[in-house]
């Protein structure tokens, strides 16, 4: 149990400190790296409470894909220019009130959740929950997700698809004058089409069509 506690506190301290560093560090790329560290330690915490499937999916989706795209975008930004804009002693930022509202909302949500824990402890009782503890985590997740909640699952998938198509449509623009190569055309070229043998008369030359 002591080993468990040591690991829990290590991972949670890393998670909290790196979450603070995401907002505190001045270099945006460093922020993304701290974000990645945060994701990894949180997935370690997931694995520690026995939710190994969620932990691994967290690693694959957030760290393996989402954070890579984050890093991509952030690296493309001109970091030097940003430094001048954001950190040159500008104390009157427009983002602060919105941030305050959102963080108060999240704070109250957490209060509600913890309050529920306090007054109705049976909600959080593992034995009362739907999950069957005799099968593995992945199995029980699949059994619930693809039977009881299949429609919600499908709808969320459709929403994601619509969002993806919407993003593509919004950024799509037809460019003119783009040279495209057709593989089939290139491969199926015969010698007869490409090479022409001509009699070249002296002092007249050959007209090459272009």
């Amino acid at each position: 149990m002591i080993a468990h506690a040591i690991f829990f506190y290590t991972f949670s301290i890393i998670a909290v400190v790196s979450a603070i560093m995401v907002t505190a560090s001045k270099n945006t790329v460093h922020s993304v790296f701290f974000l990645i560290l945060d994701f990894i330690s949180i997935s370690c915490l997931f694995i520690m409470i026995g939710a190994e499937f969620l932990g691994m999916i967290m690693l694959i989706v957030y760290v393996g894909a989402v954070a890579v795209l984050f890093l991509f975008v952030v690296m493309m930004l001109n970091v030097a220019q940003q430094k001048n804009q954001w950190f040159a002693g500008q104390s009157t930022s427009k983002h602060i009130p919105i941030g305050l509202i959102i963080s108060t909302l999240i704070f109250f949500e957490i209060i509600i959740v913890i309050g529920g824990w306090k007054y109705k402890p049976e909600i959080f009782d593992i034995n009362n929950s739907l999950a069957n503890t005799s099968v593995s985590n992945t199995h029980s997740l699949g059994q619930i997700l693809y039977t009881d909640y299949i429609h919600i699952f499908q709808i969320s998938g459709m929403i994601l698809l619509v969002a993806m198509i919407g993003a593509i449509v919004l950024t799509f623009r037809q460019r003119s004058g783009v040279k495209r190569q057709s593989y089939i055309k290139q491969i199926s070229r015969e010698r007869v089409e490409g090479v022409e043998v001509l009699e070249v008369q002296s002092n007249k030359g050959v007209k090459i069509d272009d």
Partner: protein, 332 residues
């Protein structure tokens, strides 16, 4: 005291796994160069030791004694961290590889997801190295590599779903045991081919070695690295290649199972079968390097997104419908 005992036992096991992996990485570099040379009718490294077997050791010695140069305008912490990340990620994945029904360091329930997660994290070593070098060629190499690895991961993930449909478990030992009657390479042969090509792209091997295309980008993300740090990138890369071969062997070639379930073959320990299968796949990797010219970048992206992804998705639907229609789904 009891804790310490357990810890020491685990450390002992880890060393017993890691040292052979590191030695085999050194050997595999030699094999790679040898195969490459034979295809081109050269001799390859044949001077140091018998058949040149100790060439990699000599190279390692050379790298150790070289000076590590850290560019003055680089981001030093991340610059030093990048090869360490690459190397660590390449080695921690071996924890879940089963060498027989019992010989596995961590027999976890979500083994294949762990392998997939670790191999998808491998891109960070490259991005960190490329960005921290603060130089154009490494940065371009890193950007290319990130886009390439993310694209091909998608199709590898879908191929893994294909195999999992036939197995009904995420545990690597269960995946091996499910191939007792027939290796998955037979019913899922197209997926095996796509997996092999995606693995080439995922590990930045030729013909998809655009991140380090020497004709365009000097050496890509490794341009600014020297000495042992360069060697660590190199070791990590080859350890990743071996890992991909092991993944292919487990998913499609029956892992530690003997090819035929007859008396003299079943006596051979499972670890040896797995190593033989990994070697077979690796020799294929090396042959591809020697035979195929490098892809252009847009062709690479087209292959990943427009050919492999739809094909493997269609194959998922096919496999699922086949299993469902003939009532073969592995339900427990």
């Amino acid at each position: 005291m009891e804790y310490l005992n357990i810890v020491f036992q685990e450390v002992y096991k880890i060393l017993f796994l890691l040292i052979p992996v590191l030695v085999s990485v050194a050997m595999i570099v030699w094999l790679d160069r040898r195969v490459w040379a034979f295809v081109q009718k050269r001799q390859g490294p044949n001077v140091v030791g018998p058949f040149g077997l100790l060439q990699s050791l000599a190279d390692a010695l050379k790298y150790i004694f070289k000076e590590i140069i850290i560019p003055s305008s680089s981001n030093k912490v991340i610059f030093i961290l990048a090869p360490i990340v690459t190397m660590t990620l390449a080695l921690i994945a071996w924890a879940v590889i089963p060498f027989s029904a019992t010989q596995v360091l961590a027999d976890i329930n979500v083994g294949i997801l762990y392998l997939f997660a670790v191999s998808s994290l491998g891109v960070y070593g490259i991005i960190m190295g490329g960005w921290a070098s603060n130089s154009k060629y490494p940065f371009l190499g890193a950007i290319r590599s990130a886009a390439q690895m993310v694209s091909y991961e998608v199709s590898i993930g879908v191929i893994i779903i294909n195999v999992l449909l036939c197995v009904g478990s995420l545990n690597l030992n269960d995946i091996v045991i499910a191939q007792q009657n027939m290796w998955f390479v037979i019913p899922l042969f197209p997926m095996f081919v796509i997996f092999f090509i995606s693995a080439l792209a995922e590990t930045n091997r030729p013909p998809f070695d655009l991140p380090e295309a020497e004709a365009e980008l000097v050496a890509g993300y490794q341009t600014e690295y020297s000495g042992m740090m360069y060697a660590m990138f190199w070791l990590g890369e080859y350890a990743n290649i071996l890992l991909m071969c092991a993944m292919g062997a487990i998913l499609f070639l029956g892992g530690w199972m003997s090819p035929i379930d007859v008396y003299p073959f079943t006596l051979v320990p499972g670890a040896l079968w797995l190593i033989l299968k990994i070697l077979l796949l690796f020799i294929l990797f090396a042959l591809v390097k020697a035979i195929v010219p490098r892809y252009r970048y847009d062709q690479l992206m087209r292959l990943g997104w427009k050919v492999f992804l739809p094909l493997s998705l269609i194959w998922v639907v096919l496999t699922a419908s086949y299993l469902f229609y003939f009532n073969l789904l592995p339900v427990n």
